[in-house]
């Protein structure tokens, strides 16, 4: 478990540090994929760091998020422990999900991380349900479902917009618009405006530059504050860019058709460099500070990777555990018994 101060994102340096952590975590995950230590799909978050970190900077430990197939960034931003995440990616018993979940299902309910999800849009109604519990318990917590532009066409998400408005729930929907669903440009499958679609459900909507972590944080803070005060649900759209292919494990085969220019332009607006530049210009830190923080991030990740690699894989016999809270004779059925 990362210690409390590691979790707080209330300084710009903390924002930088966290974004750097997200970036380097994914680069490390990429190395593990290329090195063969991870066989499965990995949808990396590189380029989108400002969204998760900016939004989570507006959240407290008791607020809840739901995530997507591209979940590492959200989980780290909400305070997830890179060591236990890496252990999960390596299929270790010490991983967040005891090796049961892998990249697309990492969760830490204690940190309000209700889990990545392999099905587009599926987490949103769960965020509404959590928000409903907060409301009926008189708690001022907020639930934040993250999802991509492609999810805007999935029925269960659209139904969730209505549920949140109808029950006036403390939900802040966060759409990460990186412009593509795998290889399909959002403009080809969603004509018109994402914001107008959400507004049509009665959600308060706002958009901001998803490559500018401070803008994201400011926007999220407004929406979260309103939700906390009983002002109801809102919808935020952040334009961003995924630098890599959709699924780095698929590799070059999945190289999408995005023009190099498009990627170059995005890299030119890189959210991490941008914040670093601004902080320097504003005299908030020195190059040395940045170097120090980068080094801390490296050692945290190195330590995490060591922890993961040194952890053991789950014992085969344990494969049947956790299917049910209460077991019965013959339940769950094994593949050979009757």
């Amino acid at each position: 478990m990362p210690d409390a101060d590691k979790q707080s994102l209330d300084t710009d340096a903390a924002l930088y540090r966290r974004m750097r952590l997200l970036r380097r975590f994914e680069e490390m995950a990429g190395d593990l994929v290329r090195g063969g230590e991870i066989q499965s799909a990995v949808h990396d978050y590189i380029g989108q760091e400002a969204v998760a970190v900016g939004v989570c900077a507006a959240l407290g430990p008791d607020d809840v998020i739901t995530s997507t197939h591209r979940g590492h960034g959200h989980i780290l931003a909400k305070g997830g422990d890179p060591a236990r995440m890496l252990a999960e990616l390596l299929g270790r018993e010490s991983g967040y999900n005891k090796g049961r979940g892998g990249s697309m299902h990492i969760a830490d309910l204690d940190l309000g991380i209700f889990g990545a999800n392999g099905i587009v849009g599926a987490g949103a109604p769960m965020a509404c349900g959590a928000a409903f519990m907060f409301k009926t318990r008189g708690e001022s917590h907020v639930a934040v479902p993250f999802f991509g532009d492609g999810a805007m066409n999935q029925g269960v998400l659209l139904e969730s917009f209505n549920l949140a408005v109808m029950l006036h729930l403390p939900v802040v929907f966060v759409c990460e618009n990186n412009g593509y669903a795998v290889t399909t440009p959002i403009g080809e499958v969603l004509k018109g405006s994402i914001l107008e679609r959400a507004a049509g459900f009665g959600l308060a909507v706002e958009a901001a530059d998803g490559m500018d972590v401070r803008a994201v944080r400011a926007t999220a803070e407004r929406a979260v504050a309103r939700a906390r005060e009983g002002g109801g649900p809102s919808f935020l759209e952040f334009g961003t860019c995924r630098y890599s292919v959709h699924n780095i494990s698929a590799g070059a085969a999945w190289q999408d058709e995005r023009a190099e220019a498009e990627l170059a332009d995005a890299r030119g607006r890189d959210p991490i460099d941008r914040l670093a530049r601004e902080m320097l210009a504003e005299g908030l830190w020195s190059p040395e500070d940045r170097t120090r923080i980068d080094a801390e991030v490296e050692s945290e990740l190195e330590g995490g990777l060591g922890f993961a690699r040194n952890s053991r894989r789950p014992d085969p016999e344990s494969a049947y555990d956790f299917m049910y809270a209460r077991l019965y004779p013959g339940l769950p059925a094994r593949g050979t018994d009757s």
């Binding site: 889990g115 099905i119 109604p125 959590a130 209505n162 109808m166 029950l167 809270a325 019965y328 004779p329």
Partner: protein, 323 residues
């Protein structure tokens, strides 16, 4: 426990008592407030709008809503007014709530009860309102009960709510009109316990819901001829009381499964598969399945009847295994 109660009223009593006993329990569904459906009549008035919530026609979202509430520590009952309404919510059922606790490595279990009303055919409810879709849930590993009597309905409804896992309660329309003894107290039955509805020695008939009652009636008729049927009612389809099933089949040596779900990969197939492995050496005759045909249920009475399992067909199967 001589107090008699109607089947649907027994479900209603279970809902009331469970809500009273556990203030953290709440229920969602469609059109509950107006109380047009007897099982939920008065719930809204009794427990208020933060514990009995009318949902929009968004089965997928309100199913996921229940999952999220449970992840946040709540206990939830979700009502589907017709059995086919599990289909629009199917991903949230078999791919989300049923899988999350395991995928999360047991970080939390999810106490969500699915009350599926209007299961089964009869009276011309036609293609989209006549399904008995419990085999889908059994295949997905969702705990499932199928109460036959009003007493079972109350006891198993309470058991489902008490469980810390998702449990589906299928209420077959075929028994809505029945009444029987129901304890006044809030006593949960146990999952995974079948019952011998009628003891016999020649043939085991496995049947639940209205079909269990029909099988018992047939047993009385056949008694005249000296044919002794044992009627075994699983009540709990998952977990299934395999030991109880095995004991009965080993005793009689003959098995007919009488079930009103689709035939292929249905509940009867599972029971036949279990017996063909576990009871092989005791079996004296082929295992017969008397099920619904694998055909959409039509509206018109004569063709609807043709496709459903009937006592006559059960009788023919019984005579066949007796050779």
């Amino acid at each position: 426990m001589s107090r008699q109660l109607n089947y649907v009223m027994a479900i209603r009593e279970a809902l009331f008592q469970a809500m009273q006993a556990d203030p953290s329990l709440f229920m969602i569904g469609e059109n509950m407030r107006a109380g047009i459906r007897p099982e939920s009549r008065g719930l809204f008035q009794e427990f208020g709008d933060d514990r009995v919530i009318d949902m929009p026609i968004s089965e997928a979202a309100f199913t996921g809503f229940a999952t999220g509430a449970a992840l946040a520590g709540g206990r939830v009952i979700v009502e589907y007014q017709v059995s086919s309404l599990i289909f629009p919510a199917f991903d949230q059922l078999v791919n989300q709530v049923a899988k999350l606790p395991y995928m999360l490595g047991g970080q939390r279990f999810l106490p969500v009860t699915f009350l599926i009303m209007g299961a089964g055919a009869g009276g011309g409810r036609a293609g989209q309102h006549s399904d008995n879709p419990y085999p889908y849930f059994l295949h997905a590993g969702i705990k499932t009960v199928f109460p036959t009597t009003p007493g079972d309905a109350k006891g198993l409804m309470l058991a489902a709510i008490a469980e810390d896992d998702p449990v589906a309660v299928f209420a077959p329309v075929g028994v809505y009109g029945t009444s029987g003894p129901v304890p006044e107290e809030r006593i949960a039955m146990l999952l995974g316990q079948g019952v011998v509805r009628r003891a016999g020695t020649d043939v085991t008939v496995v049947a639940g819901g209205p079909h269990a009652l029909q099988a018992v009636a047939l047993a009385e008729t056949l008694k005249e001829e000296g044919i002794s049927l044992e009627v075994w009612d699983p009540l709990s389809l998952l977990p299934l009381d395999k030991a109880g099933l095995e004991a009965s089949v080993n005793k009689t040596g003959r098995l007919v499964i009488y079930d009103d779900s689709n035939r292929t990969c249905g509940f009867a197939a599972e029971v036949a598969g279990l017996a063909a492995e576990r009871c092989f050496h005791a079996l004296k005759a082929p295992i017969k399945r008397v099920t619904r045909a694998d055909v959409v249920i039509p509206y018109s009475a004569p063709i609807e009847a043709e496709l459903l399992p009937t006592p006559n067909r059960l009788e023919a199967a019984v005579r066949a295994v007796l050779g």
